[in-house]
């Protein structure tokens, strides 16, 4: 395989798909497998949640993850924790300096506050998460603070924060090696009112490889 996107991934390629701009995606990723998410065209936010396959009331927790690493940014080596403070995955590699987990997902409802009621009818990440989660019997109760791969949310000294121009670029990626079997859910963010997608939503590529760098 000469495809540079697959470089460095350990083990057999189990899945290799493109998530169209604005679309949801979900898949089982087993312990020890690596999920690579590739920002094909650059600065495309990939909103991300994951749920333990054995009991989906255990799920990614942004707050537990931040508290345990005492840092808001997700980087290589970050351990993604569940609401039970158990490791769900590790960022085993990323070619972007850091990713966001405080900015949450865009929704039709929050868009009305952020931009005006004219944006209520626009597609949003919560719509994608609800769509994917419904396939597994999950609903709005299961929505929690998510990860935004390839999204840049700095916090200034006085607490001012915002989604600003991205620090990703075409072909940059993040690798997650799973520490438990999870259902990974991505919303390929459709937001067009802030720079999280460069005002132009584009596709992501997702690859699942059988072996992980830190198989446990």
């Amino acid at each position: 395989m000469s495809d540079a996107v697959l470089a460095g991934l350990p083990g057999a390629i189990l899945l290799d798909e493109v998530v169209p701009a604005r679309a949801p995606w979900d898949h089982l990723v087993r312990e020890g497998e690596t999920l690579r998410i590739v920002d094909l065209e650059g600065n495309q936010s990939g909103d991300f949640l994951m749920y333990a396959a054995h009991d989906d009331s255990e799920r990614y927790s942004a707050q537990d993850t931040i508290a345990a690493q005492a840092n808001i940014f997700l980087r290589t080596g970050s351990i993604l924790l569940s609401n039970e403070a158990r490791p769900m995955a590790e960022i085993t590699a990323t070619t972007v300096a850091y990713h966001d987990t405080i900015g949450g997902a865009c929704s039709c409802e929050s868009n009305t506050l952020r931009y005006g009621h004219h944006t209520k009818a626009q597609h949003a990440c919560v719509e994608n998460f609800l769509t994917s989660n419904a396939r597994y019997g999950r609903g709005k109760r299961d929505m929690v603070s998510n990860i935004n791969w390839f999204m840049n949310v700095p916090v200034e000294a006085d607490g001012t924060l915002g989604i600003v121009d991205g620090i990703s670029a075409p072909g940059l990626y993040v690798d997650l090696t799973m520490r438990m079997d999870v259902i990974a859910v991505i919303s390929n963010c459709p937001q067009i009112n802030n720079p999280c997608n460069g005002f132009n939503p584009t596709p992501l590529r997702v690859v699942i490889a059988a072996g992980g760098a830190t198989r446990v």
Partner: protein, 276 residues
Amino acid sequence: MSRSVTADPQGARTHARAMAGTRVEAMPTVPATAAADLPAGVAAEAMLWEETLGPGGYAGKELERGARLSLTDLQGDACVSMLLFNAERPIERLNVADTVKVQWNAYLQAGRLLLSDMGRPLMSLLEDSAATHDTFCGPSQERSRPSADGPAANWSSHPAARGRLLLGASKFGLGRRDIHPCVNWFKGVRIAADGTTVVQLGPFAPGRALLLRAEMNLLVVLANCPHVLDRRPGYCVTPVRVSAWRGPITPPDDPRRRATPECERAFLNVDEYFRR
């Protein structure tokens, strides 16, 4: 040998009833209208809730739109984790990410709103003499609070906050899936330029207080436990006084409604919700 005073039901009843009137620090005042030391300007008849939560204490309460909720850090080392739900439809709840993102600021202070996941304010923070709060780190956990005294379980003398929130939510029929990201009051977390969380643990001056206003009909769940990043030895948390009373619904000319364009639209959304 003398017979035990609780050897028969009558004796046990007498023994139990003899406890009546006992006062301890961590307890509710029932009825709340009997609260001593009423908040300034509040009539006894308006009181809805008066309770002191001790170290590890938790409580839940339904509050109507307009109600005021005050939290007082009595000794300067309280840490109150809070969950909020729309009482009419608890599927709507506090969204910490939206709260900080929509208001363009992560450090809660007077004038800020606590936003739901439906684009509406659940509460307004009217007054705040503490200004050290945390929207990042969530509740302490059994696994994140290793202790020399054994697991920080609900049955222990030093429970972690998440277990307390789970119990509080359970008593409204809610469960593990409903334990959303929370706000921690009184302990601050600031973010350094490299993203590091810098915790402000105090202990602070006694008597720091918050005043919140319910903007919708709410279920409020509180837990008073050491902050997740509090690495001091022992179980460092002191009692918090919780008071609530009836108050007027936010009037159309409330200046806080127009503090920012985002606030204004949030209040328009809550007005619309109650247009029925």
